[in-house]
Symmetry: D2
Subunit: 184 residues, 4 copies
């Protein structure tokens, strides 16, 4: 199998965040989805409500493509703006599939599921761009700076696209993108 | 979350089979992919070579959409005819995701990975249509008749589409599609 | 990480089979569990009823150790004879974990979940010993002979232990145990 | 299947943390493993090095039982102090299995994999006790207080055991342990 596929496939970026979205967070997520679709990027998310639904609605408003990685077994489930439902049956272990399927991640708000996704992404060397999301610190150390902070949805989309393209170039060139502090 | 989504999404059908495909099996798989795409069905497969690649090539020759559920971590991997790579990192545990994502399954030829997928699909009540694939018997019983046998690729596509539509109707109507003999 | 661990750990063998067990199948499974425990082998299974419960009951009657790989999220679930419940939350994708955790597999009876496990095991090169279980044939070929047939529970235990030891030796020696026909 | 199993099984608690452990973190982890084993608790971890190995070494020094949920396919892998290797083949998606298998979690130090495990555990309502581990804050909110802070290894063991027993009681009583802010 080739692993040096020319980058002719459409870029895919994950949008992650809370399912019971606070209103200002849902508004940001919708704008992120729209901004990505306007830049010809497909989005992948966990397929459910809140940030996931808002991002898909935004993407569809600009004619984008939306992929939902569903935790359950029902192909008819997921929010109304999902084009392509992936039915995993894995429960929330599907969170790692959500972030791996994107070449970069945008985190908008978020609760504990989002925190697990941020951990999986950073551990895999997948760039994470954050908008009003988690900040974290290890005991006795300065705040972790691995999440790329964005100022607004357009900035988040642009930073995520740039980081995704860099990562795909690195992978194509055989350069590892796994950071030093990842603990397995 | 709604689980009674109107069936406005495109139908998705899984195509499964051996990765080191014997030539007549690859030819059948290509025709199955083409026949499904001609009937406006998207296909999902394991994303790699052999039957998976042939089915995707056939689908693309008719302008279809192809989804690859990849076992590894590399978004640049998968065969050249995959539109939407889903990067699972799950190894061959991804086989259950391949069959769950289709509303029905077409098995063409196949080796042991395909056998695992047939088991997962039948256990979940997902219809399996077979073309020159596994036949199985439990000790002391007549041959298992759960796999719907097809005569040629067009017949396989049509039987799979009919079975998929019936299953989605049953799910929407709240009718269980899990067969009695499934052992968990 | 070392991958050449001396074989000082207790041998673990998977017992798989139907959850709604026909009585003669449950009786065989209980004897298999007992025969393995008498030979100082721990057993792993899917943790639920039928063959799984019977095998665990048999193992405990001989003072053995029992591991249950549970599909759900509840650490208090599983049959009454499980010593060590592994809580996966993965649904029936946990089937591949059941077979990988054993160094060989004994299949007793079985329905479609068992068929998926046989496929995963054979694809991984994990030996499968069968007692009144599935037999399968690929179209136009003679019956597949990959499953090692056993005559009775003691024979199944002995054949599984011999095959497990051979496989661990091969792994320690760096010899691949993956068969040629596995399709990924 | 019964889900109201009397709590006669041995208590299992997860120990998570960085695989490239800083020395003071490894020392803490070893003491946590020992403290849990002295209180008759089995430990489960990711099976590899660093905090995982130190915790297992500590547990074995007090005669405890150790379970390793391995990411790979090799039953001979894992650290030297693992009694029961669970071979998942799931890569780091196995992180959610590590935390679900414990009735509570002790996090010692940690890098991004640990962060994903903390997210999975808190999202599932599994209590997390922390020793020099991550602290996190959502934008514009006070620091998240979901992680129970411990002063030393014995305190961590005792707090984790108390929280695990409370959680199992709640589950047996049918009381949900899923917190309000979990986003799926």
């Amino acid at each position: 199998m080739r692993t040096d596929k020319p980058m002719t496939r459409q870029l895919i970026i994950s949008v992650i965040g809370e399912s019971n979205a606070r209103p200002h967070i849902a508004a940001l997520a919708e704008q992120v989805g729209r901004a990505l679709a306007e830049r010809d990027v497909a989005i992948v998310c966990g397929g459910l409500g809140g940030v996931m639904e808002a991002a898909c609605r935004g993407a569809k408003s600009a004619g984008g493509t939306t992929i939902g990685i569903l935790p359950g077994d029902n192909p008819l489930s997921g929010n109304d703006y999902i084009d392509i439902p992936i039915v995993t049956g894995l429960g929330y272990a599907r969170n790692s599939v959500v972030v791996k399927t994107g070449s970069a991640v945008v985190a908008v708000g978020g609760a504990y599921g989002t925190l697990s996704e941020i951990g999986h992404a950073l551990g895999d060397g997948i760039p994470v761009v954050g908008l009003e999301t988690w900040e974290m610190t290890r005991s006795r150390e300065p705040a972790d700076s691995a999440i790329i902070r964005a100022f607004d949805p357009a900035d988040a989309a642009e930073k995520a696209i740039a980081a995704a393209k860099q990562r795909l170039s690195d992978i194509a060139a055989g350069i590892s993108t796994i950071p030093e502090i990842y603990d397995k």
